[in-house]
C-alpha cells in the first residue's frame, strides 16, 4: 500500500465521503422491529400486537389458531398445576364470552379487526412460517405458532412464579450491534425500491402515450446516481431517514478525529445506544458483568452519555449473519426431533431440551449436552461457522443456537480437562512466523465464544489457575480493555474514573496519525496536528506493547519532578522548563487548509494572474502563477492567491476570450497577528463542476506557551502555568534537571497510583536501558513489571528505591528540604491551545441589523457584560462603568431629528433628496 501513498497500518473501517472520513457508529439494539407481547393484566393473559387495535385474550388467540381444547393448552404448558392455575382466569374469561371453536374465535377477532386471520398468519410471530419448516404443504397449520405462544406463556409464568427467571434487559447477550453493513443494506433497499417505483412511474407514463417516436428502452429511464446520491447524503450527514422502515436516526456517522492514531482508532470502536440519552436511568448505564472482555469497562464519555456510549474491547468480534439452512439440517441429523411429531405433553417434558435456533424452535433433543458438544466439535473443526454459538440453558431447559449478526464474541483458548490446547511449540511457531492467529483458529486451538456461550464455559484467567472443570483459558487479561484504555500503563492501579478520563483525553492528544500524514492533507482534513518530536513512552502500556502503535506515538517522555514550585502550579497547572521547550519539548505543528478556485463561467473563466513585483509587500510570497509557493512564510494579510476574473462573467458570447476585460482578485490570509505560518503544500485539483481548485496547506509550528494543555496518560490534565529558566529549576546530584514540575496535590485525591508506577518504571527503564511494561493486570504473566523489581533496578543504578531524589534548589543553591519524586512520565499535548482560544477586543465589527457587537471569537466579537458581571460592578459601586458598558459602548446611534415635527431626517435613497432636514437637530439614541 505504501507505494500508493496509503498508510499500511491504517485500520480502515470508515467511509470517505465528499473528502471527509466518516466512521459509522455502531448502535446496540435491544428489540426487533415488530413486537409481540404477551402480558398479564388482572390475572388474565392477553396478547398485545400493534396490528390489533386492542389487546386480545390469549386463549382466544389459541382457539383462533386452531387449538380449540383448553386441555391441550394446559397440557403443553406442563403438568405442574401452578401453570394451570395461572392460566385458569384466562380460560374462564374465554368461556364466559362463549367462544369455544376456531370459527367462533376468528369471527370474534374479525369483528374487532378486519383480516384477523391474515394478521395471525403473517404479522403475529412472523419468524414462524405457517406450515412448518419442512412441510409447507398444508396451509394455515398454526401448530408451531401455538407451540411458540405456549413457550412464551410458560416463560412468562416462570417469571411470575420465580423472579430469578426474569431476563435482564441490559445483558449483553440479549443485545445485537447494528453495523454499517446492516444500516447500508436498509438504506440501499429503500433507495433501490424508490428508484424502481420512480422508474416504473416514468415508464408507465411513457408507455401510456398512444404514439411513441422511438423504440422503447428501459435502460434509458433508469435514474442515474439516485442510489449514489442517497448513500452519500446519508453517510455525510449521518441522518438515516428510511421512511419505508420507519427509521429516523441522526448522528449515525461521525468524522474520524485524526489527531492521533489511537484517537482515530477509538472513534471506530464506538457503540451508541438507540434510545435517547436523556433518560435518567441507571440500569443501562451501569457496568454489566457480561461486558467482560467484550466491551471496554473504562472507555465511556462523561456526562449525559455516560455508560450508554461504549467501546469495543481489543479482541471483540461482531458477528455477521450466517446461513441457517445448513445448521437446521445438521441439527436434525444429530437427533433433534421435529415438534410436529411430538404431542403437547412432551413439549415441556423434563427429560428433554428445546432446541432454538435464532429464536426459532427447531424441536426437542433428549441429550442436550451431547448435542451441544457435537455441535461445538463441528464448529472447532470448521464445519460450522466460527461464530455460531451453542448455549445450553439449563434453567430454561433449552439449547440456543445463534448464527445471527450483531452478536459480540471474543476468542478464547480451548482447554481440555483444564489443560490448554496451546502448547509451547505452538507459541514457538507463532514467534517464528509459521503460525498466525487464523491458523490457531483453524486448528481448533482457539475459538470464538459469544456472551451466551460464555455462560457454559469455565474460563481460567491464567493457564496455571485452570482446574479440571476449566473449559477455556483467557488469551490475555488486558484484552478486556479497549484501544484507548489499553494505552494507559498500569491502569489496574488507578482509581477507575481516571482511566475513563484518560480514554476521553487520549483522543485529544496530538500525535502521529499515519505514515502518510505528510501526504494526507489533500484529503480535506481541516486541522491535522502532529508532533515533530514524538517519543516512545519509556513505560509501555498494554496495547503499546502488542500493537505496533509505537510508530505513531502521541506524546513525549518528560522528566517530571513532583514538587511544589513558584505558586504557578496550583490547580493542576504545570511548570515547564524553558530550556526543554527550546530544545523541542511539546512542539506541535498545526495544519490548516484554505482553498481557492478558478471559476468557470458560460464562455469565460478565471485566469492565472502573474503578480506585479514592484507592488507592495503583501504579494511577495506569490509565485509567477499567482499562487503562494510552498515553503514561503505567510503572515497576516498576505496575499496567497491571485487570479484574473472576467469583469462581466455572463459575458457577451461574441467577443473573443482574449478581449474580455479582467480584473484582479486576491485572497488574503487571515491568521493571528504576529504569528508566522508557512505554506506547506499547494495542491491543484478539479472539483465536481470541473473547476480548477487550489488547496493551500498552511503549517504553523507552535512551541508550548502558558495556558497550553498537557496531560499524562492517567487522566491528569493540566495547563502550563509558567515557564521557568533552566537555571532556576532544581537539579539532582547527577545534574538531571526536570522538564516539568507537577504539583503533588494532584495525587492524593486522584489516586493515580499507576502514574507513580509509570514514573518508577520509566526511571528504571532509562537507567537500565530497556523498556518496562505496564500492561493491565500484567504482573502475574510478566507483562507488567512489579514495583519490587523496578525498585531493585533503581537501587542497582544508585537511585533510591522509592524514586525520590536529593535535589538542589536552582535559585538558592541549597538542597531542598525534601526528597523529590522525580522521573520520566509520558506526557501528551492536548489539542486545546491558548493560541486558538485567546480573544479580546475593544472597538470592532458590529452586526448589520442590530448594530450590536458581533458574537464569537471567529468574528472578532465583543465580550458580554452579563448579569453576574453587572452584579459585580454594582457591588463595587462603579456606576459610571455600568452606564458606559450598557448605554454608550453598545447601542448608541446618532440621528437627525426635525425640531418642529419630531420626525427623523433621512436621505431618500432614490431621489437623493433630504427629507425632514429643516430645523435639524442631532440626537443620540441609546
Amino acid at each position: 500500500m505504501s507505494p500508493l501513498g496509503e498508510c499500511p497500518l491504517d485500520p480502515g473501517g470508515y467511509f470517505v465521503v465528499k473528502g471527509n472520513e466518516k466512521a459509522s457508529v455502531m448502535s446496540s439494539t435491544e428489540m426487533t422491529k415488530s413486537k409481540t407481547i404477551i402480558r398479564m393484566e388482572k390475572e388474565k393473559v392477553y396478547l398485545v400486537l400493534n396490528a390489533f387495535t386492542s389487546k386480545v385474550p390469549i386463549m382466544l388467540v389459541m382457539k383462533a389458531m386452531g387449538m380449540e381444547t383448553d386441555q391441550e393448552v394446559v397440557q403443553m404448558l406442563g403438568r405442574d398445576p401452578q401453570y394451570a392455575t395461572l392460566l385458569l382466569p384466562s380460560i374462564e374469561d374465554c368461556a364466559s364470552i362463549g367462544i369455544y371453536t376456531q370459527l367462533q374465535a376468528l369471527e370474534f377477532l374479525e369483528k374487532k379487526d378486519e383480516g384477523a386471520l391474515g394478521v395471525l398468519r403473517d404479522i403475529f410471530i412472523p419468524n414462524i412460517r405457517v406450515g412448518g419448516i419442512k412441510s409447507p404443504v398444508r396451509e394455515n397449520n398454526f401448530h408451531l405458532k401455538c407451540v411458540y405462544v405456549v413457550v412464551m406463556l410458560r416463560r412468562m409464568m416462570d417469571a411470575i412464579l420465580n423472579k430469578d427467571a426474569m431476563d435482564d434487559k441490559d445483558y449483553i447477550g440479549n443485545k445485537r450491534l447494528e453495523l454499517s453493513g446492516q444500516l447500508l443494506s436498509l438504506l440501499f433497499e429503500d433507495l433501490f425500491k424508490s428508484m424502481n417505483d420512480q422508474v416504473k412511474f416514468n415508464v408507465d407514463k411513457i408507455l401510456s402515450k398512444p404514439s411513441r417516436s422511438s423504440r422503447f428502452d428501459v435502460s434509458q429511464h433508469l435514474l442515474k446516481e439516485s442510489i449514489t446520491v442517497g448513500l452519500e447524503r446519508s453517510l455525510s450527514t449521518g441522518n438515516w431517514d428510511v421512511s419505508r422502515f420507519k427509521m429516523h436516526r441522526k448522528g449515525m456517522t461521525q468524522i474520524v478525529t485524526r489527531l492521533s492514531f489511537i484517537g482515530a482508532f477509538g472513534s471506530m470502536t464506538k457503540i451508541s445506544p438507540q434510545f435517547e440519552k436523556s433518560r435518567k436511568v441507571s440500569g443501562p448505564r451501569a457496568l454489566q458483568p457480561s461486558q467482560w472482555g467484550m466491551l471496554c469497562p473504562c472507555d465511556t464519555p462523561e456526562g449525559e452519555a455516560c455508560g450508554l456510549v461504549k467501546n469495543l474491547a481489543l479482541m471483540t468480534h461482531v458477528t455477521t449473519d450466517e446461513e441457517e439452512g445448513p445448521i437446521i439440517s445438521l441439527c436434525t441429523c444429530f437427533g433433534v426431533e421435529d415438534l410436529s411429531t411430538l404431542s403437547g405433553e412432551e413439549l415441556h417434558s423434563p427429560s428433554s431440551y428445546l432446541i432454538i435456533l435464532n429464536g426459532l424452535i427447531l424441536g426437542k433433543h433428549r441429550r442436550p449436552e451431547r448435542f451441544a458438544n457435537v455441535m461445538r466439535k463441528l464448529r472447532r473443526a470448521g464445519k460450522v461457522g466460527d461464530f455460531v454459538s451453542i448455549y445450553v440453558n439449563e434453567k430454561q431447559r433449552c439449547v440456543y443456537i445463534a448464527s445471527d449478526g450483531g452478536r459480540v464474541c471474543r476468542p478464547l483458548v480451548i482447554a481440555d480437562n483444564g489443560v490448554s490446547r496451546i502448547k509451547d511449540h505452538h507459541m514457538r511457531e507463532l514467534k517464528d512466523g509459521v503460525r498466525n492467529f487464523d491458523s490457531f483458529l483453524r486448528e481448533g486451538l482457539i475459538e470464538y465464544l459469544d456472551v451466551n456461550e460464555e455462560n457454559n464455559a469455565l474460563i481460567a484467567l491464567y493457564e496455571g489457575e485452570a482446574t479440571h472443570e476449566t473449559t477455556h483459558v483467557e488469551i490475555e487479561p488486558f484484552t478486556i480493555l479497549g484501544a484507548c484504555a489499553g494505552l494507559i500503563p498500569f491502569p489496574h492501579h488507578n482509581q477507575s474514573p481516571r482511566n475513563t478520563y484518560q480514554c476521553a483525553m487520549g483522543k485529544q492528544a496530538m500525535g502521529n496519525i499515519a505514515y502518510n500524514q505528510s501526504l494526507r492533507s489533500t484529503v480535506s482534513l481541516n486541522e491535522a496536528m502532529s508532533d515533530g518530536y514524538l517519543d516512545l513512552p519509556f513505560g509501555l502500556s498494554s496495547t503499546a506493547a502488542t500493537d505496533d502503535e509505537n510508530n505513531r506515538a502521541a506524546g513525549q517522555n518528560a522528566t517530571v519532578a513532583v514538587m511544589s514550585y513558584s505558586g504557578y502550579d496550583i490547580e493542576d497547572a504545570i511548570v515547564m522548563n524553558k530550556s526543554s521547550l527550546d530544545r523541542g519539548f511539546g512542539r506541535c505543528i498545526v495544519m490548516k487548509k484554505i482553498s481557492a478556485a478558478y471559476q468557470k463561467y458560460d464562455n469565460t473563466s478565471d485566469q492565472f494572474s502573474s503578480p506585479c513585483r514592484s507592488q507592495h509587500d503583501q504579494i511577495q510570497i506569490l509565485d509567477n502563477d499567482g499562487l503562494a509557493s510552498p515553503g514561503e512564510i505567510i503572515r497576516h494579510q498576505d496575499v496567497y492567491f491571485q487570479k484574473e476574473c472576467p469583469i462581466d462573467p455572463k459575458g457577451s458570447m461574441k467577443s473573443h476570450p482574449s478581449q474580455t476585460p479582467y480584473r484582479t482578485s486576491k485572497q488574503t490570509y487571515k491568521g493571528a497577528e504576529g504569528e508566522t505560518a508557512v505554506v506547506d503544500r499547494v495542491a491543484l485539483c478539479s472539483d465536481k463542476r470541473n473547476n480548477l481548485n487550489v488547496k493551500f496547506m498552511i503549517r504553523h509550528t507552535r512551541r508550548p506557551e502558558v495556558g497550553d494543555k498537557f496531560s499524562s496518560r492517567h487522566g491528569q490534565k493540566g495547563v502550563c502555568g509558567t515557564i521557568v529558566q533552566q537555571e532556576d529549576f532544581p537539579f539532582s546530584e547527577r545534574g538531571i534537571c526536570p522538564d516539568l514540575i507537577m504539583n503533588p496535590h494532584g495525587f492524593p485525591s486522584r489516586m493515580t497510583v499507576g502514574k507513580m508506577i509509570e514514573l518508577l518504571g520509566s526511571k528504571a527503564g532509562v537507567s537500565c536501558g530497556r523498556f518496562h511494561y505496564g500492561s493491565a493486570f500484567g504482573e502475574p504473566s510478566g507483562h507488567a513489571d512489579k514495583v519490587e523489581d523496578i525498585s531493585e533496578t533503581l537501587v542497582k543504578h544508585g537511585f533510591c528505591y522509592n524514586g525520590k531524589d536529593f535535589l538542589y534548589s536552582g535559585i538558592t543553591g541549597m538542597p531542598l528540604q525534601a526528597y523529590i519524586f522525580m522521573g520520566p512520565i509520558y506526557y501528551q499535548k492536548l489539542k486545546h491551545m491558548v493560541l486558538d482560544k485567546m480573544h479580546a477586543r475593544g472597538m470592532g465589527p458590529r452586526q448589520l441589523i442590530t448594530r450590536q457587537p458581533t458574537e464569537g471569537r471567529s468574528r472578532n466579537g465583543g465580550l458580554r457584560v452579563g448579569e453576574m458581571e453587572r452584579d459585580c460592578l454594582i457591588a463595587y459601586g462603579t456606576s459610571n462603568l455600568i452606564y458606559e458598558r450598557l448605554m454608550i459602548s453598545s447601542d448608541p446611534f446618532e440621528v437627525q431629528v426635525c425640531r418642529k415635527c419630531g420626525l427623523l431626517g433621512y436621505i431618500n435613497y432614490k431621489s437623493k433628496t433630504r427629507v425632514n432636514f429643516k430645523n435639524i437637530s442631532r440626537f443620540l439614541l441609546s
Binding site: G532, Q725, Q726, F806, I811, T812, G813, P815, L816
Partner: protein
C-alpha cells in the same frame, strides 16, 4: 540529678560552636525521610549568644578556599570547590548555563528543502548544533546591525540524495560548510539592478573571515556526527545558516554547557561500630560500594569511598540502621561538573563565568558607591 551551680559548669570553649551546632551549620543531614539543616546560616550574629562570631571573613575565606581539579578533558571537567558558600557556587552554575555567550545558528535561509523534516523543525535542529568557535572573537549583533564578519558566521548545507540511488541518506552536522566570505545568496531586490558592482547578499562581509589570524589555519567547524535530517531518493536540502552570538538566557542553544551542576561532598559516618554479619550486610547493601570491610581482629565496616555515594539511602532504609549510619553532605565543599558543548574547553568556561560574576559585582559596587 545533683544540682550544679552555674559557675561550676564546664567552661565552653571560646570562639567555637558546640559540636552539634557545628554539625548543623556545616552539614546537611540526609535522613531517611527528608534532608534536614539544608539552609546555610548567614547572619553574622546567629551565634552571638554563644560568643561565636558567624560573620564571613575574607582572610578566613582566602585561607580556606581551595580548588581541586579531579577530572579534565576536552569536554568535561570535574573539580572541587572547597570553602565557598552555596550561593556563590550556584551563581557560577547559573552563569555557566545562561549567561556565557556562544555562537549558534539563529537564521536559516532555506533555498530548497524537500525532505520530510519541516523547515522550522530543521532550523530548530540546526540551531541546537554546537559551533566550535571562540565566541569572544565575535561581537553581539544588535537589532539594527548588519551581519558582518565580526558578528556572524555563515554555513552552507547542500545535500542531495539521488533519485536513482534508492537509498536513504543521512545529513549530518559535519555536512555544514563554513562560508568565510559570508552569504552567497543574493538579496532579491538587488538582483535586477546594476550588474557591474558586486551583488548585495544577505550579509555584508568586508573581508573574508579566514583572512583573520584567528581563523587562518583554523576553520570554523561544528560538532560532527549530529543527525540533522534524513533524505529519501530525490530529496534535497539547500540552505544557508547564519550563526550569531547570544546567551543561554534567550535560548538554550546559546548555552555553552550541556549542563553544569554541583553536588555537595558526601560524608558517610558510621555512628557505631558495625561488625561481622552486619558489616557484610552493609557492604552488600550499597550499590556503589561506599563501604569496605577491614579486618582488625574482627571484621569491621569502614567507609572507603564516601565520594561515590549517590544518596540512594539503601544503607539506612531498614529500620534501626539510621542509628548506625549517618549520611551527610558538606555544605561548603562542592563537586562541580561542567559538560561543555565544545565551543570552549570547560576550564575556560569556568574562568569566563568567574569574570562575569566579577563584572556583576563591580557593577553593584559602582552603583552603590
Amino acid at each position: 540529678m545533683p544540682k550544679i551551680p552555674l559557675w561550676d559548669l564546664p567552661e565552653l570553649p571560646k570562639n567555637q560552636l558546640p559540636p552539634h551546632l557545628y554539625l548543623q551549620k556545616t552539614r546537611v543531614f540526609c535522613n531517611n525521610d527528608a534532608p534536614t539543616h539544608t539552609e546555610n546560616i548567614h547572619y553574622s550574629g546567629a551565634y552571638a549568644a554563644l560568643g561565636v562570631d558567624n560573620s564571613l571573613r575574607l582572610d578566613e575565606f582566602r585561607k580556606n578556599f581551595k580548588v581541586k581539579v579531579i577530572k579534565l578533558n576536552e569536554e568535561d571537567m570535574e573539580f572541587d570547590l572547597i570553602g565557598i558558600d552555596a550561593s556563590i557556587a550556584n551563581a557560577f552554575r547559573r552563569i555557566l548555563i545562561s549567561e556565557l555567550p556562544t555562537m549558534a545558528i539563529e537564521k536559516v535561509l532555506v533555498a530548497n528543502s524537500s525532505s520530510v523534516v519541516q523547515d522550522e523543525v530543521l532550523a530548530q535542529r540546526l540551531g541546537l548544533v554546537p559551533i566550535k568557535v571562540d565566541p569572544r572573537l565575535f561581537d553581539y549583533m544588535s537589532e539594527n546591525d548588519v551581519p558582518n564578519q565580526k558578528n556572524s558566521i555563515v554555513f552552507k548545507l547542500h545535500y542531495k540524495c539521488d533519485r536513482g540511488s534508492g537509498e536513504r541518506r543521512t545529513v549530518y552536522s559535519h555536512d555544514l560548510k563554513w562560508l568565510p566570505f559570508g552569504s552567497e545568496y543574493v538579496l532579491p531586490t538587488e538582483s535586477s539592478s546594476d550588474s557591474t558592482s558586486k551583488p548585495k547578499t544577505y550579509t555584508s562581509f568586508t573581508s573574508s573571515q579566514d583572512s583573520l589570524p584567528e581563523f587562518a589555519n583554523n576553520p570554523i567547524t561544528v560538532t560532527p556526527g549530529i543527525i540533522i535530517s534524513k533524505l529519501g531518493p530525490g530529496q534535497e536540502i539547500e540552505l544557508e545558516a547564519h550563526a550569531v552570538k547570544g546567551v543561554g538566557k534567550t535560548h538554550a542553544k546559546w548555552s555553552p554547557v550541556a549542563t553544569s551542576w554541583y553536588r555537595m561532598l558526601p560524608e558517610v559516618i558510621l555512628l557505631q561500630d558495625i561488625e561481622d554479619d552486619d558489616a557484610h550486610k552493609l557492604v552488600k547493601k550499597c550499590p556503589v560500594n561506599v563501604f569496605d570491610i577491614e579486618d582488625v581482629g574482627r571484621e569491621r565496616a569502614t567507609v572507603a569511598r564516601p565520594r561515590s555515594c549517590t544518596l540512594c539511602r539503601e544503607c539506612i532504609r531498614e529500620p534501626g540502621w539510621e542509628e548506625k549510619v549517618a549520611l551527610r553532605r558538606v555544605k561548603d565543599h562542592f563537586i562541580f561538573t561542567i559538560e561543555s558543548t565544545g565551543a570552549l574547553p570547560p576550564e575556560v568556561l569556568f574562568t569566563e563565568a568567574v569574570k562575569i560574576l566579577e563584572d556583576k559585582c563591580e557593577r553593584v559596587i559602582t552603583e552603590l558607591s
